[in-house]
């Protein structure tokens, strides 16, 4: 017995490096596959705060070189909003008359569904197979997990997956696990937006029935089925229609509306009414079990 124990210890000592190697490998792989499944680990909160410091320093310089393009996109966003003002519309008809809305702003608060929060993009990548954005706004400034993120021109960017006190990690559309429910604006046919990891300007729309007519240039918008995005935010435009031979579905190549390599500011959409439907759904699922 003692002999056996001695041999065991000798064996471990002899191959100690190899065992250490195995232990470290298992540790790394555990971290990797665990993070891809659940994005809320304690150590990542600390890591995000630290990398956030470096990223925001770097962004101070980078932002300066992109001021012009950032400005252009904000002007475009303003143009869109100006064109929605009441004074832009006038009817020659005297039957119609403009009435001031009598609902008080205060009482509107409980009807508010979506609240937009501006955030500075400090870290961003488009060349990796899994791309994330890092925003300089976090839990202390009202960001939560699973909120939708759009760019200044209302184009979909991604979903919040991890929040630390002052930083937020966003899984961009350019991520292998990203999957967003979408609709064709023309005919309301729904599908799922995914990314194949190849071109940062192109995402794919899957599960579109062949029964609908799809043409190049059709707009693809958010479906509003999930609580993250309201209906109708632009995702992109159809660039190519691929007919899958083995099924009755189309695969659409979508040119993204957001330019992912140029993002400097984004808006985080907080859905203030998501709790009630979520609870209802949970209750329904419980009764079905």
């Amino acid at each position: 017995m003692e002999e056996a124990m001695r041999n065991l210890f000798l064996f471990i000592r002899r191959y100690f490096n190899f065992f250490l190697f195995l232990v470290l490998q298992v540790f790394c792989l555990y971290l990797l596959f665990n993070y891809n499944r659940y994005h809320n680990s304690v150590y990542m909160r600390v890591a995000n705060e630290v990398t956030g410091k470096f990223y925001s320093r770097y962004n101070d310089v980078e932002y300066y070189f992109k001021l012009k393009r950032t400005n252009d996109s904000l002007v475009k966003a303003n143009e869109m909003l100006y064109n929605k003002l009441k004074q832009d519309f006038e009817m020659p008809d005297t039957i119609n008359k403009t009435v001031n809305d009598s609902v008080k702003i205060d009482s509107l608060l409980k009807f508010r569904k979506y609240n937009y929060m501006a955030a500075k993009v400090i870290g961003n990548s488009v060349i990796l197979p899994n791309n994330y954005l890092q925003l300089h706004r976090g839990e202390l400034q009202g960001v939560e997990k699973d909120l939708g993120v759009i760019d200044p021109n209302n184009a979909v960017v991604g979903t919040v997956i991890d929040v630390s006190p002052n930083n937020t990690i966003v899984m961009s559309l350019l991520h292998k696990q990203s999957s967003i429910s979408a609709k064709l604006k023309n005919n309301g046919e729904s599908g799922t937006i995914v990314w194949d990891g190849l071109d940062p300007h192109i995402v794919l729309m899957k599960e579109v029935n062949k029964s609908v007519k799809v043409t190049k240039g059709d707009s693809v918008v958010t479906s509003g089925f999930t609580d993250r995005f309201p209906y109708g935010l632009l995702i992109g435009r159809v660039q190519q229609v691929i007919s899958e031979k083995s099924s009755n579905k189309y695969l659409l190549k979508i040119r993204t509306a957001a330019n992912f390599s140029d993002l400097q500011y984004v808006y985080i959409i907080n859905n203030l009414q998501k709790r009630e439907p979520a609870e209802l759904l949970k209750k329904a699922q419980k009764t079905n079990e």
Binding site: F21, C28, L29, L31, L32, Y35, F54
Partner: protein, 177 residues
């Protein structure tokens, strides 16, 4: 400069170059994803123990991982090359005592061809393992093979340029002195 300070500076510089330069430049092609940070592991002194090597590799891998939000991905590849580094060096050192006479693996201490074989072997092992872990999530055989080959070749080119620009002077140390 002491070895410790030198390596700490290298650690920081390599991470910053990787995160703020190589990961920021627009990709040549989606299969080309150049890496340079693991040169830190290749440049560690000959006398570094295997355990120390592996822990240092873990640290630099995790440091990069926290920037790219892939905890464990680069760390796993780095630990692997740190583990096989001593084997590769033992096979490739041609003249007796290069490890005793020189401090670090360089072109001068190992010779041009052995040094580049060493860099190439570790580069391709690093890239292969990294992209294998990636390909498990998506992609396929061809994606994995092509990406390893192309990215590995570009990374090696970067290493060559780095070696030519930053020549590391090595004192020849003898036992007799």
């Amino acid at each position: 400069m002491s070895n410790l300070v030198k390596n700490i500076i290298r650690f920081i510089l390599f991470i910053f170059v990787q995160v703020f330069v190589l990961n920021q430049i627009p990709a040549l092609h989606h299969l080309v994803n150049p890496y340079l940070y693991y040169l830190f592991i290749l440049w560690l002194p000959f006398k570094t123990g295997r355990r120390t090597l592996m822990f240092l590799a873990l640290f630099i891998g995790l440091a990069l991982d926290f920037f790219t939000k892939t905890p464990g991905l680069h760390a796993a590849a780095c630990v692997l090359i740190a583990y096989i580094r001593p084997f590769v060096i033992n096979v490739l050192i041609s003249h007796e005592g290069a490890e005793a006479n020189y401090e670090e693996p360089t072109i001068k201490s190992m010779g041009f061809v052995p040094y580049f074989t060493y860099a190439a072997v570790l580069t391709f092992v690093h890239h292969a393992f990294l992209f294998l872990l990636e390909a498990l999530q998506f992609g396929g055989m061809w994606y994995f093979l092509l990406k390893t080959l192309l990215s590995g070749a570009i990374s090696l080119l970067l290493i060559l340029i780095t070696e030519l620009i930053f020549v590391r002077r090595q004192r020849f140390r003898t036992n007799t002195a």
